[in-house]
C-alpha cells in the first residue's frame, strides 16, 4: 500500500464515528488518577507535588524534543494527545514521594526517549514506558528510590511549607529520621531476613489494614489503595478498561498468597497484605491495563494478568527486591506478542484453528 493511499482522506464507509478518541481515553485515565493524586499531595506535602509536576513536565519536554528530532509535522497534536502526560503521571505515582528533582528528569528521559520514542512513538513500544523508567531508576539509583517517607499526618513534625518543600526537592537534604520509614513489603522482608517472623513484625503500626487509607509509607501514588481502586472501577465503568486484566492480576497475587499464608502464616504475608501493599492495586488497574503493551484479546489479557500477579508474588516472596510489580509487568510485556500470537478470537464460521466449520449432515446444495 503506498503512502498516498494511506494519507488520502478516506472515502470508504463508515461515515459515522462513535466519538471516542485517544485524547478522550487518556483524559479519562487521568481523571481516574486525580483522587489518589490529591490524597497523595495531602499525605506527602509540597515535595510530592513538585515531583509530580516535574515528572510530567520532563516527559512532555522529552516527547516534544523526540518528535522534533524525528521530524514529525504534527508535534502539537501528538504532544497533547495525553499519552506523554499520562506516562509522566504514572511514573510519578510509582516514585518515592520525596525523590529529588533529578530523579524526575532522568525518569522522564528514560520513559519517553528509551521506553517509547526509540520504538517509534505512541503505540509502538513493547514495554510500558513508566515501568521501564521505574525499573531503570531503581536499578541505577537504589538509595533515593527506596527512601520512603512517613505520611505527614502520622509524624509529629510539621509539614514542610512551600519553600521547605522546594528545598527538599532541589537539594536532596537527608530526611529527618522521624520521617524516614520503610514500606510494608520492605520492612517485612528485612525483618524476615533478620529472623523475625511476621507475627512479631506486623504487630502495631505495621498492620496491613492501614493501607486502605494510605496510612503507611510507600510510593507517592500507591498509598491509598481505596482511592486507586475507586479510580480503577471508574475506568471499568466507562469502558476504558475491561475487568479481565485487573481481576487476573489480583487473582495471580492472591491465589499463591492464600495458599502459602494458610500453610505458613509466620513466613508468608496474607492475601490482604499483598493486595494492599506496594503497587498491587495501581499496577492491576493502571499499569497492566496499558493498551499498547498488553494483549488485545480478553483471554490473552487473563493469561497476561495472571502472569503478572504470579511473578509479582514470586519476586516479593523470594526475590531480592521487596516489590516486584514493575519487574513482573516488564516480563509479561515481553511475552505479549507471544500471547497475541497464540490466543486469537475464534472467527465466526471457523473453528479455533481457522478451518471452516463442517456443513451439517443432510444439508447443502
Amino acid at each position: 500500500m503506498n503512502s498516498a493511499a494511506i494519507s488520502a482522506q478516506p472515502i470508504a464507509s463508515p461515515h459515522a464515528h462513535g466519538g471516542n478518541s485517544v485524547t478522550r481515553t487518556m483524559f479519562r485515565v487521568q481523571m481516574a488518577l486525580v483522587p489518589a493524586t490529591f490524597y497523595g499531595f495531602w499525605l506527602f506535602g509540597w515535595p510530592s507535588f513538585f515531583l509530580w509536576l516535574l515528572t510530567i513536565l520532563s516527559c512532555l519536554g522529552f516527547e516534544a524534543l523526540s518528535l522534533k528530532m524525528m521530524g514529525v509535522t504534527r508535534i502539537k497534536a501528538t504532544l497533547f494527545d495525553g499519552s506523554a502526560l499520562l506516562t509522566g503521571w504514572l511514573l510519578a505515582m510509582a516514585l518515592p514521594p520525596w525523590a529529588p528533582w533529578w530523579v524526575a528528569v532522568v525518569g522522564g528521559f528514560i520513559a519517553i526517549v528509551i521506553g517509547k520514542q526509540v520504538f517509534g512513538g505512541v503505540g509502538q513500544n513493547v514495554f510500558n514506558p513508566a515501568m521501564v523508567a521505574r525499573v531503570a531508576l531503581l536499578v541505577s539509583f537504589p538509595v533515593p528510590l527506596t527512601m520512603w517517607v512517613s505520611p505527614l499526618p502520622l509524624t509529629p513534625l510539621a509539614a514542610p511549607d512551600f519553600i521547605d518543600g522546594l528545598r527538599i526537592f532541589l537539594t536532596s537534604l537527608p530526611q529527618p529520621d522521624a520521617m524516614a520509614s520503610a514500606s510494608l513489603l520492605g520492612y517485612t522482608k528485612t525483618e524476615l531476613s533478620r529472623g523475625i517472623d511476621l507475627f512479631h513484625s506486623l504487630a502495631g503500626d505495621h498492620a496491613p489494614v492501614l493501607s486502605w487509607i494510605g496510612a503507611r509509607s510507600g510510593s507517592f501514588g500507591e498509598s491509598a489503595s481505596l482511592l486507586i481502586l475507586a479510580g480503577g472501577l471508574y475506568l471499568i465503568g466507562v469502558g476504558i478498561i475491561s475487568w479481565h486484566t485487573p481481576a487476573a492480576v489480583l487473582a495471580g497475587i492472591a491465589i499463591p498468597a492464600a495458599i502459602s499464608h494458610s500453610v505458613d502464616p509466620a513466613h508468608y504475608l496474607s492475601v490482604s497484605a499483598h493486595l494492599l501493599s506496594g503497587a498491587a492495586i495501581l499496577g492491576a488497574f493502571f499499569i497492566a491495563t496499558d493498551y499498547v503493551t498488553s494483549p488485545n484479546t480478553t483471554s490473552g489479557q487473563i493469561v497476561f494478568g495472571l502472569g503478572i500477579g504470579l511473578l509479582t508474588w514470586i519476586i516479593r516472596t523470594w526475590g531480592g527486591y521487596p516489590e516486584g510489580m514493575a519487574f513482573a509487568v516488564l516480563l509479561m510485556n515481553a511475552l505479549t506478542p507471544v500471547i497475541d500470537r497464540f490466543i486469537k478470537p475464534r472467527i465466526l464460521g471457523r473453528d479455533r484453528k481457522g478451518k471452516p466449520l463442517d456443513i451439517p449432515e443432510g444439508k447443502g446444495a
Binding site: M1, A5, I6, Q9, P10, I11, A12, S13, P14, H15, A16, H17, G18, N20, S21, V22, R24, T25, R74, A77, T78, D81, S83, G121, V122, G123, Q124, S242, H244, Y291, V292, S294, N296, T297, T298, S299, D340, K344, P345, R346, I347, L348, G349, R350, G354, P356, L357, D358, I359, P360, G362, K363, G364, A365
Partner: protein, 501 residues
C-alpha cells in the same frame, strides 16, 4: 454447549456496536409518493450478476411495467419501465458509485400518464407451483432490496433445491438513519406477510422467522398483528445491535446456526430475504407488478423533509432532493445507503437503483473528518468485530504490504460492516484498508486464474506436441521394425529352406 455459552457470556461476547440510530423523525412520517421526474435513467447493471440486455429501441413508446431490458445468463435480473413514456437514449450515464464513472443505462422520458401495462393475474397466487412463483419473481426483476441486490428468484430456487427448513426475513434494519424497512412494516405489514407466505411456498421452508430489532416496537406490533392468522410466520424480536442485519449474525441470532466460513446460508438449512423483498414478491405475484419503484429513506441534517419516499427507479438523486424541498446548510457528505456501509456519492446527478435504501445528506457534525493517528492497540476493534477478527493486526499487515499475513488473519471473512473503524479512537480508516486489500486479493486471484489457465493451455500444447512426436517416432520405429523384419525374413529364407533341404 450450554456451559460454553455461559463461559462466553462470562468472558464477554459483545460483538457489534450501538450507534446512535438517528431514525427519528424520518421514521415517524408515513410513506409518501415522490412525484414523477421528467426523465428517468435505468442502469443496466443494478443487481449482482450479468447486466440486463436492452430489448427496446430509442424512440419506442413503453407502458409502465413493460420489459425494457431482459436478464442475461443464470444470475441476472430484467428491468421494466417505471412509468409510461418514450425511450430517449441507450447509453452511458454517471453511475451511482463513489468513482463517478459512467455506465450503461436506458433513459426514459415520462409522458405523465403513468399507465400500467395490462397483465393477467393468477386467480389464487397461493395455489401456484413453487417453480411458477420463482419464475414470476424472476420475470418481475425482484432482487434483494436490503442492499445486496442478489436476484431473489435464484435464492428461492436454491432454497427449494437444498431443502431448507427456515426462511429468515430480515426486518432488523440495523443501519442508523435508515427506516424504510421499519416504515414498510408499519404501513404495509399485510402485504409483507403475503409475500413471506409466497416465499415459503417457493422455497419449501416450513417456517418463516421475521427478525426485527427491539428499537422498532411499532413495526413489531404491526407485523405480529398481520402474521397472527398464519402460524408459519413468526415475528422474533432481536436486540438492537449493529450489524444485526448481516445475514450470518441474524441467522445465528434467530436460528442458533452458525454458517461455516466457506458455505452459504442454505447449507445450514436457512435462507435470508429482506422485508422489502417480501413486499416486492407480493407485488409481483399477486398484482403482476414488476419492481419499478422502491422505498428510500431521505435523512441527514442537511435534508429539509426527512422521511420515507416511494421513488420510481431511475429518478435522479438531485430530483429526489428537489422534490423534497432541497437542502439546508452545508452538505459535507452525500451517502447512498446507511452511514455504516453506504457509499459516498461525488455528485447528485445520478439515478437511484434497486439497491438504494437511503440517501443521506450529512452535515459537518454528522460526518466529521478526522486525521488518523497511530494505533494504540486498545483492542476496541477486536471487541467490536462481529466476525471475531483482529482488525488492528490485519491493518498492520496491510500497511506493510503483507497481503498473505492479512489473509491468514481472516481478511476474507471481513464483512466490511465498519464496526472497527466506528469505534477506533485513533480514527484509522480500517475498512478502507480492508477494501484496498480485498481489491488486491481479487486482482491476485484473477491473475492466478489467468496464469493457471495459460499454464494449462501451454501444458496441453506441450503434451500434444510430445504425443505427436512420440506417435511419429513410434510409427517410424514400427515401420523400421517391419522393414527390418521383412529384410531379415528375406535374408533368412534361403537358409531356412536350406535347413529344410
Amino acid at each position: 454447549m450450554g456451559f460454553m455459552n455461559l463461559f462466553k457470556t462470562f468472558l464477554g461476547n459483545h460483538w457489534g456496536v450501538h450507534p446512535a440510530d438517528h431514525k427519528r423523525p424520518a421514521s415517524e412520517q408515513a410513506i409518501r409518493r415522490l412525484p414523477l421526474a421528467p426523465r428517468l435513467h435505468l442502469m443496466l447493471s443494478q443487481h449482482v450478476g450479468a447486466p440486463a440486455r436492452p430489448v427496446v429501441l430509442v424512440g419506442q413508446k413503453v407502458l409502465k411495467g413493460e420489459l425494457i431490458a431482459a436478464a442475461q445468463g443464470n444470475i441476472s435480473a430484467p428491468l421494466h419501465a417505471p412509468t409510461s413514456g418514450v425511450i430517449t437514449a441507450i447509453g452511458e450515464v454517471t453511475a451511482p458509485h463513489t468513482s463517478g464513472l459512467p455506465a450503461m443505462a436506458i433513459s426514459l422520458d415520462a409522458d405523465g400518464e403513468d399507465r400500467w401495462l395490462e397483465v393477467e393475474l393468477p386467480a389464487d397466487p397461493y395455489a401456484l407451483a413453487p417453480t411458477d412463483i420463482a419464475a414470476r419473481v424472476a420475470a418481475a426483476g425482484v432482487v434483494g432490496l436490503g442492499g445486496a441486490t442478489f436476484p431473489s428468484s435464484v435464492k428461492l430456487n436454491l432454497g427449494r433445491r437444498s431443502s431448507i427448513d427456515t426462511l429468515i426475513v430480515n426486518g432488523s434494519e440495523c443501519e442508523p438513519y435508515l427506516s424504510c424497512d421499519d416504515r414498510l412494516m408499519r404501513d404495509r405489514a399485510a402485504d409483507i406477510v403475503s409475500g413471506i407466505r409466497l416465499m415459503l411456498i417457493a422455497t419449501g421452508a416450513k417456517v418463516a422467522k421475521v427478525g426485527i430489532e427491539d428499537n422498532k416496537p411499532e413495526a413489531i406490533a404491526a407485523m405480529r398483528e398481520a402474521a397472527s392468522r398464519f402460524g408459519e410466520v413468526v415475528v422474533v424480536v432481536a436486540p438492537a445491535r449493529y450489524p444485526m442485519g448481516s445475514d450470518r449474525q441474524l441467522i445465528l441470532e434467530l436460528s442458533g446456526r452458525e454458517v461455516p466460513s466457506d458455505a452459504r446460508a442454505a447449507d445450514v438449512g436457512v435462507i435470508v430475504h429482506n422485508v422489502c423483498t417480501a413486499y416486492a414478491v407480493q407485488q409481483a405475484v399477486c398484482l403482476g407488478r414488476p419492481l419499478v419503484s422502491r422505498l428510500i429513506t431521505l435523512n441527514g441534517n442537511a435534508t429539509v423533509m426527512p422521511g420515507n419516499y416511494e421513488v420510481p427507479l431511475g429518478t435522479l438523486v438531485s430530483d429526489l432532493i428537489a422534490f423534497t424541498g432541497g437542502t439546508q446548510g452545508e452538505i459535507t457528505k452525500i451517502v447512498m445507503g446507511g452511514p455504516m456501509m453506504g457509499t459516498v456519492l461525488p455528485q447528485t446527478r445520478v439515478p437511484v437503483v434497486k439497491g438504494t435504501s437511503g440517501i443521506l445528506l450529512l452535515d459537518a457534525n454528522e460526518a466529521a473528518a478526522f486525521e488518523p493517528e497511530n494505533c494504540i492497540r486498545c483492542g476496541s476493534c477486536v471487541k467490536a468485530c462481529p466476525m471475531g477478527l483482529l482488525p488492528l493486526e490485519m491493518s498492520a499487515h496491510i500497511r506493510n504490504d503483507d497481503l498473505d499475513g492479512a489473509v491468514d488473519l481472516g481478511l476474507a471473512d471481513c464483512i466490511a460492516c465498519g464496526c472497527c473503524a466506528y469505534v477506533c479512537p485513533s480514527h484509522i480508516p480500517l475498512v478502507q484498508y480492508f477494501y484496498h486489500a480485498k481489491g488486491d486479493l481479487s486482482a491476485r486471484q484473477r491473475d492466478l486464474l489467468r496464469s493457471e489457465s495459460t499454464k494449462k493451455l501451454a501444458l496441453a500444447r506441450q503434451e500434444r506436441l510430445e504425443r505427436e512426436a512420440r506417435e511419429k517416432a513410434e510409427a517410424a520405429a514400427k515401420r523400421k521394425a517391419e522393414r527390418a523384419a521383412q529384410q531379415a525374413a528375406a535374408s533368412v529364407e534361403p537358409k531356412k529352406t536350406g535347413e529344410i533341404a
